[in-house]
Amino acid sequence: MATELKANGKPFVHYHAAHCESGVTSALLRDKGMDISEPMVFGIGSGIFFGYLPFMKMTGLPISTFRAAPGSIFHKTAKRLGAEFVTKKFRNPQKGMDELKQVLKTGQIVGMTTNMYWLPYLSERFRWNFLGHNIIALRETDGVFRISDSMLEHPIDCPVADLERARFAPGPANPHGYMYYLKSVNPRPDLRNASIKGMKSTCFMMLNIPMPIFGVRGMRFLAKKVIKSPDKLGFDEACRQLVGLIRWVEEVGTGGGGFRYMYAAFLQEAAQLFGSGELADLSKEMNAIGDSWRAFSVTAARIVKQRNKEKETFAKAGGLMLICAGREENFFKDLGKVVGKLKT
């Protein structure tokens, strides 16, 4: 937590957050005077998800994402809480930077999507071509932007040229300087209704998307692939793919266990909001699912490090994923039933 001045001289409080997008969204909402925590935003925006996209590759490794599409958390949260917001994309980088400066001068703080590789203040372990990192610009002075990156503990400086490069990174999935800010928020937001909507849409996304690569089915699909991978690809390549998978579970700002702990935190808050004991029980179950994802990532890491070769096999890692899939299927079915009984 650190306090920082905005362009109009008013203070902005920077909070450390686990995930970039939900952190940015909650910071934008807090700045407008709504007291909302990061897990709450994550739950209302239906952040939790699973998708395995073998045809989309990032630096040679397939994407297996544990959260919803970039941009959707902000969009859904703002809509469900009745906030007015503006989103913009640009063809011309110069226009994009001018617009950003102009909006900052009015005292707004602006969320932006950037490519992580080109952000100069990050250290080596963060710098890879990940094209969906969200940050907030606070103010601009003498060619240097003050940036609040919710992944870091303190606000930080970033030169204009580097920020332009990060916002308009050439290549596939160019963010095109995507920026967004809130115009106004509903002074009396209906948190209960918004939470119910968020949970319902999450249940749908995890259970009912009719494609074998999304939701619980996607987990099973990937688990089977992991079990077969050493025979199909050879040990080294299979390890490479597994490392890529651990990155999506633990590394990309997930708050641990592939976002499952963060969702458990949301359910805990929701249980208090509704005074519902069932939601509190589900929160504990979600925590246990997070633990089994963590057990999977530790097993995978042992395979990569070749520790205890007889016990730690790809079959065991895939089996743990299947267990996670089975538990999550039951979990979201239960959640669907509990949500149906809740009253707004």
């Binding site: 686990a18 071509n129 050439p170 990155r247 890491a301």
Partner: protein, 129 residues
């Protein structure tokens, strides 16, 4: 083993949700061991790629373009999209004898996509960075 501990000493801890003694969720900065393994594997792979590419360029097997692509952690498809040049042409330009004959207009496009100057694009550093 060294690398794993070293890369996490950059003063940028990330947040993780854990429960405190009362069962309430708080943000903590202790990371899981598997994350160390995964990040170390990825970082060492990137470093090895860069070093391999540098050696191949010095041995005359590949063009300097290959080295700069590795530094930016791109692959041929990515670079082709970034520079707006067809994939098969980018693959051809990886051969040193063809790269040497490139027009300056093509070199400029690569330079912009890789954020280096056209002069830098034709050379690689002599020693390991």
């Amino acid at each position: 083993m060294e690398l794993e501990k070293e890369i996490f000493k950059d003063g940028m801890p990330k947040g993780y949700y854990t429960q405190d003694d009362n069962g309430k969720y708080i943000l903590d900065t202790n990371h899981c061991w598997s994350e160390e393994v995964c990040v170390a594997a990825i970082v060492s792979e990137v470093r090895a790629n860069i070093e391999n590419a540098r050696k191949e360029v010095i041995a005359g097997l590949k063009s300097p373009l290959c080295y700069h692509m590795a530094v930016r952690q791109m692959d041929v498809k990515f670079l082709a999209r970034a520079a707006g040049i067809a994939v098969f042409r980018v693959k051809r330009h990886m051969r040193p004898e063809i790269f040497a004959k490139l027009k300056s207009s093509v070199l400029d496009r690569y330079a912009v996509a890789l954020a280096v100057t056209p002069e830098e694009l034709k050379t690689v550093p002599d020693s390991e960075a």
